[in-house]
Amino acid sequence: MACRILILAEHEGGAVRETTFELVALAHRLAGEAGWSAADIKALLIGQGLGDLAKGLAARGAAEVIYAEGETVKEYTSDGHSRVLESVIKAESPDIVLASHTPNGWDCAPLAAAGLGVPIATECSNVAFEAGKPLFTRKAFNGKFIQVLDLGDAKPKFATMQKGAVAAFTGATQGTVRALPAPVGAAPLRARFAGIKKSESGGVDLTQAPVIVSGGRGVGAAEKFGVVKDLASALGGQVGASRPVTDMGWLPHEHQIGSSGVTVTPKLYIACGISGAIQHIVGMKGSGYIIAINKDADAPIFGVADVGIVGDLFEIVPALTKAVKEAKGQG
């Protein structure tokens, strides 16, 4: 069995992550476009005690699951996991390698790519064959533009995929599994796992909130956040924020929505003064109904919103708060 596409699978809490099945779905589509067999799609799991996970992945899209196990790779480290990835790519010689653009994916994938002497297309929103060549679509300038890359004669063509870019694979397959002692090499590991910590949270759980009103850089200052908080309170919702807001200390970190904060899916999401960098959008695009208020008519947030208002949030938001209160009979 040849290996055309190798997927770096991720697991967490004893389950294969959903992002991995997004890669599986993409691999099946690419194999179809290229005229390759679905039997040429393999996946790599790295960790310890992975037998059942490997079987599950082989039953859901991977023709062969290689599971590399060892005490040294039980927890994720850049050294351990990138060495295994690099070694398995060398052995399998795939044409395309797909990893998820997650904190562990973006950490170890470029290490392996550099070891193999190939470039990497990061945070791709799509990969598709055009005229017989796979082209990699990704954002540039923080989402102002999309860039389409040709990785030419690179072998393998290596990419990390944005979470949620492709719908997850739901089909059933009968793949095989193969255990492998994790090939971490003889050199000592220089990155050592020393624990996972939860950042302190003030009891804010945005993931369960039915309504979230978020503020971004456009709010301008910590003391101006009152208008955002007032609207959230009138709607019985929670206050969210984009990264610059928590970086500047206007709100605590647990309010941050996006790729490095939390992913939310409220019934109603109102974005105030948020331009819509892709890192924010991936964390809120699954919301039921999205309202965006921003001064810049070209802001990417309007691309995902249902309704947009191009204007000054300090006029619109207080007016909306007043109207909501009136509608609820509290005006």
């Binding site: 904190p103 950490d107 990497i120 389409v148 910590k197 208002i309 109207a323």
Partner: protein, 264 residues
């Protein structure tokens, strides 16, 4: 302990961005440039370690065309001790792998114990140079770091940002390459005194031709990494834009919130 910060000069986000005539990148003639925001945090982190007496020297390096020298000047004025500029017009369109190789060729004999970079550049958003340099130098690596502490002369303890408000604590054996997240610190600005002092600091300029394999590698990179096209993002479903007076808009929004979400 010698330390290095990898920096990049990028277009200011409020620059007038236009796609070039070939449709492959932005028209650079229209843009104004500044130091990549993430890199300011990386520089600050090293300056703090120097203030604390934990590193002896902070060197700033960039690989880019002539214009990039002003970003190095900013670093020197902010407190970096000296700078290295790998200067070549070909670098503005080069792929991250050949840039990383050029950086490695320039620094491999310097003996830096700690190399910092921003998590990503605000122009091409690759997030690759840091890990590439780490792998090519065979150094330890950590990305998206929100806390960094030098335990002693051989070990750094870092916190890597994960999803859902979690961090992974990692111990790295030095030498190491670390990319930092924004928010790790509060970057300082250059003082007038710093700006004056920067004029006397060393900027070593190297050309790709000075570096082993450099020019040929950059020239050959198009065969493995080429932008086919740059385009505005797809509009998606696109928002319906409401306009009018604030209270009219507010009433209209309330009506929609009622109909579409039922939360009122």
């Amino acid at each position: 302990m010698k330390s290095l910060v990898l920096i990049k000069q990028v277009p200011n986000t409020d620059s007038p961005f236009r796609i070039n005539s070939a449709g492959t990148w932005v028209d650079e003639g229209n843009l104004t440039y500044g130091l990549n925001d993430y890199d300011r945090y990386a520089l600050e982190e090293l300056l703090r370690l120097k203030d604390a007496g934990k590193v002896t020297e902070v060197v700033a390096l960039t690989a880019g065309p002539e214009r990039a020298s002003s970003a190095l000047r900013t670093c020197l004025a902010t407190g970096a001790d000296r700078a290295i500029h790998i200067k070549d017009d070909a670098l503005s369109a080069a792929d991250p792998l050949s840039i990383a190789r050029a950086i490695v060729a320039a620094v491999k004999d310097e003996g830096f114990s700690l190399i910092l970079a921003g998590l990503q550049a605000d122009d091409d958003n690759h997030m690759a140079i840091g890990p590439f340099v780490a792998r090519l130098l065979d150094h330890a690596c950590a990305t998206a770091v929100t806390r960094l502490e030098l335990v002693d002369g051989t070990t750094a303890r870092v916190e890597r940002e994960l999803e859902n408000n979690r961090v992974q604590v990692v111990e790295l054996t030095l030498p190491a390459v670390v990319t930092v997240q924004t928010g790790i610190n509060e970057p300082r600005y250059a003082s007038l005194k710093g700006i004056m002092a920067a004029k006397k600091k060393e900027v070593r300029t190297l050309s790709l031709a000075d570096l082993k394999g450099g020019a040929g590698d950059v020239a050959a990179s198009a065969a493995r990494f080429r932008t086919v096209r740059l385009a505005p993002p797809p509009k998606g479903k696109g928002a319906e834009i409401l306009s009018g007076a604030a209270d009219q808009i507010a009433k209209e929004l309330v009506k929609r919130i009622r109909e579409k979400t039922g939360v009122i």
